[in-house]
């Protein structure tokens, strides 16, 4: 090959390609070296040093003016702060990562968010910001990492690939992006499996909605697999309501109470045709049995009934014109729904009609019952319903009664009515698909129906499903639930928190399983069942938290005499509470049994049972402490005081000395939800306070004061 073949053009090509290669290599090295996170670490370091130096400066300027005895302390602090500065300055520039084997996670988020644990950096911009709140104190970052809560791609060290983009912008290809400020509460629900999750109000609300709306009647929902049915038994419905009411109810339950949101009635609206409603009505009314109803005695006194109504505090559970408790149905307008005979029979024999109701069987006398019925009949008079015209036109329609009933039964089963309502002879079964692990469903595989325009995000799907079931599926069987948009959003979020069983058991926080607590045995069990104590109180691990006062250990807490008086005539310990103890009208023998059982069995052995002996000095010392700590700002003592805590004027009559001592020593040991501040009293101070409080009695004779101990 001669030189002429390689003209100057070849040399130019060679030069160009060679230079381009060299430049590319240099650019590659620069890019490799100048990573985004290095820039962030440098800025974070500068900010941290600035914060520490400001601290040092203030300490230095204050040093000459501090008192002599404080000087050593100040110098020590100064030395420590200088050490921190040296530490920050010497901290190397490197990728930080948190590796958690049990969660199979490697999070490099702290590579850029270096100051996340630094309390001084709370006011900085992201990514230099310290984590708000105390969340990292509760969840050690080395044990939990970041993406377990926040989602996103923890392995990445640049903004884009970490999938930072709350609220799923459409230009983002990520499936599991960093959650927004609101959605993040759903992550709490991954591990926190109790119904009330602290610091996650939206999640707790969502779980409440799921429970009350009775989702688990048709779907298998995590946490609610074994929930009791939310609706009443329909076994004797035919004797309870009239046809006109039932037809209106089945057409649109919301007409009964057109308020928004999940209040009673909770019955959702099914899309049923007129014929279907008629058939269903025929089936339900066929259960009527007039012979079980009894006539109330003549001559009930409505005024006595009104007094009884108030004394019993029915409004603790029932609504009256939209006001009152949320446990039981609205009472105003009750006459348009039920007959007088049924109302009487219900009060007389509550658990015969609804074996699983939360309502106690009140121990009213015959006279009291007829008074009460008379009063309610006058007070809660509602309009008389007539069968809607459109039903009259087609009723009959050529079918005989038996055929209608059979058709109604078919509809009853097909629409999953048994999910919420018990009916003898029809087995309970979930008619809808499981929604376990809903949060990790593949969005591409879901049916999007008419909602094609929306961002295909699982949360949008669930929300759309709740809002308008027909949008996603033609002729959906799922009914329209009477929820507000906020409630739907909260419920959606709570459902998304179930991302499948990928959380190791050591991370799971769950409420004790109520299944482990069977019905109570013996006479005590019978009383608990009769008065449905567990509708409001937790008794031996099972029950409801309407009252924040579980009854286990009650015998150690209150005194026998007080308990007896309280059962005979309950009063409200805290008048600001809406849910107050109802007056059950227990018989004397029942009160005796309960008092004995409480004081002998339902006790906490770690609390001393004896009354204790206190000296006069201790009582006086307690009084001084009581005034010093300003207890009166929350508690009533004598004439004045606050309304946050229970009144203490006669606390010595109510509480045992042992309980007062134990409670003052550590308020949150026995009642973790208590808002009583823990003052860290010493043994002597606690004793003195106990002595003082135990002496606050109406009848001082009970206290034994011994001299000189």
């Amino acid at each position: 090959m001669d030189k002429a073949a390689l003209g100057p053009i070849h040399y130019i090509w060679f030069a160009v390609v060679g230079t381009a290669l060299a430049v590319a290599i240099v650019v590659l090295c620069i890019k490799e070296y100048a990573r985004e996170w290095k820039h962030h670490q440098a800025i974070a370091k500068r900010l941290q040093i600035k914060a520490v130096e400001e601290k040092i400066k203030t300490l230095e300027s204050e040093l000459p003016s501090v008192k002599e005895e404080m000087k050593a302390k100040y110098e020590e602090r100064l030395r420590m702060t200088r050490m921190i500065r040296a530490q920050v300055m010497a901290s190397p520039v490197k990728i930080q990562q948190i590796q958690i084997d049990s969660l199979k996670k490697v999070d490099r988020c702290t590579t850029c968010h270096t100051g996340i644990e630094d309390v001084d950096m709370k006011d900085q911009e992201n990514p230099y910001k310290g984590h708000p709140g105390k969340y990292l104190q509760w969840h050690d970052i080395e044990k939990f990492g970041c993406t377990i809560c926040h989602e996103g791609q923890g392995l990445s060290t640049d903004y884009m690939h970490a999938a930072h983009m709350p609220l799923r912008g459409l230009d983002r290809p990520w499936q599991k992006a960093v959650l927004s400020k609101y959605l993040i509460q759903s992550s709490c629900g991954k591990c926190h499996l109790d119904k009330e999750v602290p610091f996650a109000p939206l999640l707790s609300k969502g779980r409440d909605v799921i429970e009350k709306a009775g989702c688990s009647g048709c779907h298998k929902v995590r946490l609610y697999e074994n929930q009791e049915r939310v609706g009443p038994s329909l076994d004797l419905l035919g004797s309870k309501v009239n046809r006109a009411w039932l037809l209106r109810w089945l057409s649109n339950p919301r007409e009964y109470d057109p308020q928004e949101g999940l209040i009673r009635p909770r019955m959702p609206k099914f899309s049923l045709s007129k014929d279907q409603i008629l058939a269903l009505e025929a089936f339900l009314m066929a259960s009527g049995n007039e012979t079980v109803l009894k006539e109330p005695a003549e001559g009930g006194d409505p005024e006595a009934g009104a007094l009884l109504f108030r004394e019993t505090r029915c409004v603790t559970c029932h609504l009256v014109e939209g006001k009152g408790g949320y446990l039981a149905p609205e009472l105003s307008g009750i006459t348009s729904k039920v007959s007088k005979k049924w109302l009487y029979s219900w009060i007389k024999d509550t658990h015969y009609f609804q074996p699983r109701t939360k309502m106690p069987q009140f121990n009213f006398s015959e006279k009291q019952m007829s008074d009460l019925v008379e009063y309610m009949w006058e007070e809660f008079q509602g309009e008389e319903f007539e069968i809607p015209k459109e039903f009259e036109d087609i009723s009959g329609n050529g079918k005989d009664a038996g055929e209608m009933v059979n058709q109604g039964k078919k509809i009853f089963m097909e629409y999953g009515c048994t999910g919420c309502h018990a009916k003898t002879g029809i087995e309970q079964g979930r008619i809808a698909p499981d929604i376990i692990g809903l949060g990790s469903r593949d969005e591409e595989r879901l049916e999007w129906g008419k909602a094609q325009g929306v961002d295909k995000y699982i949360g949008n799907w669930v929300f759309a499903r709740l809002k308008d079931p027909d949008l996603l599926e033609k002729k959906a069987k799922m009914p329209h639930f009477p929820l507000t948009e906020e409630e739907m959003a909260a419920a959606t979020m709570a459902l998304l928190s179930d991302t499948g069983g990928d959380i190791p058991s050591q991370y799971v926080v769950s409420a004790p399983n109520q299944e482990n607590y069977p019905d109570l045995p013996g006479e005590f069990g019978k009383i608990v069942d009769k008065y449905r104590c567990r509708s409001c109180h937790v008794v031996y691990g099972k029950g409801s938290w309407v009252s924040m006062h579980p009854l286990d250990g009650e015998g150690s807490e209150v005194r026998k005499e007080w308990l007896r008086a309280y059962f005979s005539l309950p009063y409200s310990l805290r008048p600001i509470l809406k849910e107050r103890m109802v007056s059950l009208k227990m018989s004397d023998s029942e009160v005796d049994l309960l008092v004995n059982f409480f004081t002998s069995v339902m006790v906490n052995n770690s609390i001393p049972g004896d009354e204790g002996t206190f000296t006069e000095e201790e009582v006086a010392g307690g009084k001084i402490l009581f005034d010093k700590y300003g207890c009166i700002s929350c508690h009533i003592m004598g004439k004045g005081g606050g309304y946050v805590g229970p009144p203490l004027t006669t606390v010595g009559d109510r509480l045992t000395a042992g309980w007062i001592f134990a409670y003052m020593k550590n308020p949150r040991y026995y009642e973790p939800w208590s808002i009583q501040p823990d003052y860290g009293f010493s043994e002597e101070e606690t004793r003195a306070l106990t002595a003082y409080l135990a002496s606050c009695k109406e009848m001082k004779k009970n206290i034994r004061v011994s001299q000189g101990k």
Binding site: A5, Q153, L155, S156, T157, H161
Partner: protein, 254 residues
């Protein structure tokens, strides 16, 4: 000084080590030059003499050579990537991200492997086109044409098996679609015409090692990608190049 150097080389070429490696003398005579090519493993595939027009780019566009070059790039970067990659469901994607974000030059390494792979598919196809349009498949080169077609298939298979290894959504679904095609094979596929095999024993099942894409598929594809297919390609390439020489060099009519 020069004298000393001469004496040193004289001594060196007569040592046993030197003469066991280079069997002939300096390539300063015609005979020794031929022997140098014939006796050296690496030069063995190289023709004894190259025609001047063989150096002209527009004769071959150097497509075969570029393919070989890219194959070598793939081998080197691939071996380096193997140090960081574990073919398990748990780690595959994580290792990919490690390469991207934590390993020095990891992203470059991975991208180089990826782009070289794309480039190789492209150049091999262009190479085939070039051979077709210049009529270079005609006798006596028809055997080498067949070897070349096999090499093209191997290149595509290498590309396909490598596609699953990142274990991301794209990989998963691409290979799902790709292997689903095997179901439609006549006779051998469970859904193909005249099928005789069940879903548990058809081509697709053997390709995946399970009914769906799973850890088995990942491992299978990894072994194919890193061992079986490259070895086959190297073997066929050896024959290919040797036949190029035997059939009259890289260019020019016979």
């Amino acid at each position: 000084m020069i004298k000393g150097l001469k004496r040193f080389t004289e001594w060196l070429v007569h040592t046993q080590i030197w003469s066991s490696i280079f069997r002939q003398g300096w390539p300063d005579t015609e005979r020794n030059r031929i022997l140098t090519i014939l006796n050296t493993c690496l030069f063995h595939l190289h023709p004894l003499k190259v025609r001047t027009h063989g150096l002209k780019v527009k004769y071959t566009f150097c497509l075969g050579g570029v393919s070989l070059f890219l194959f070598i790039v793939e081998t080197i970067t691939g071996v380096l990537l193997m140090f960081y990659y574990r073919p398990t469901v748990e780690y595959a994607y994580q290792d990919m991200k490690d390469l991207e974000f934590a390993v020095t030059f990891g992203l470059f390494l991975r991208n180089m492997h990826r782009w070289a792979a794309h480039g190789m598919v492209l150049t091999v196809i262009l190479h085939m086109c070039r051979v077709f349009y210049t009529g270079s498949y005609k006798p006596p080169r028809e055997y080498n044409w067949c070897i070349g077609v096999s090499l093209l298939v191997l290149t595509l298979l290498l590309s396909f098996t490598g596609y699953l290894l990142p274990w991301d959504q794209l990989a998963f679904w691409a290979v799902t679609v790709g292997t689903n095609m095997a179901k439609a094979t006549p006779l051998m596929g469970a859904e193909g015409p005249f099928h005789i095999l069940s879903e548990m024993s058809d081509m697709c099942f053997y390709l995946r090692g399970s009914v769906d894409i799973s850890e088995n598929t990942l491992l299978r594809f990894y072994v194919l990608h890193c061992i079986a297919l490259p070895l086959a390609a190297v073997g066929l390439m050896g024959i290919h190049f040797w036949r190029v020489r035997k059939d009259g060099g890289i260019s020019g009519p016979l």
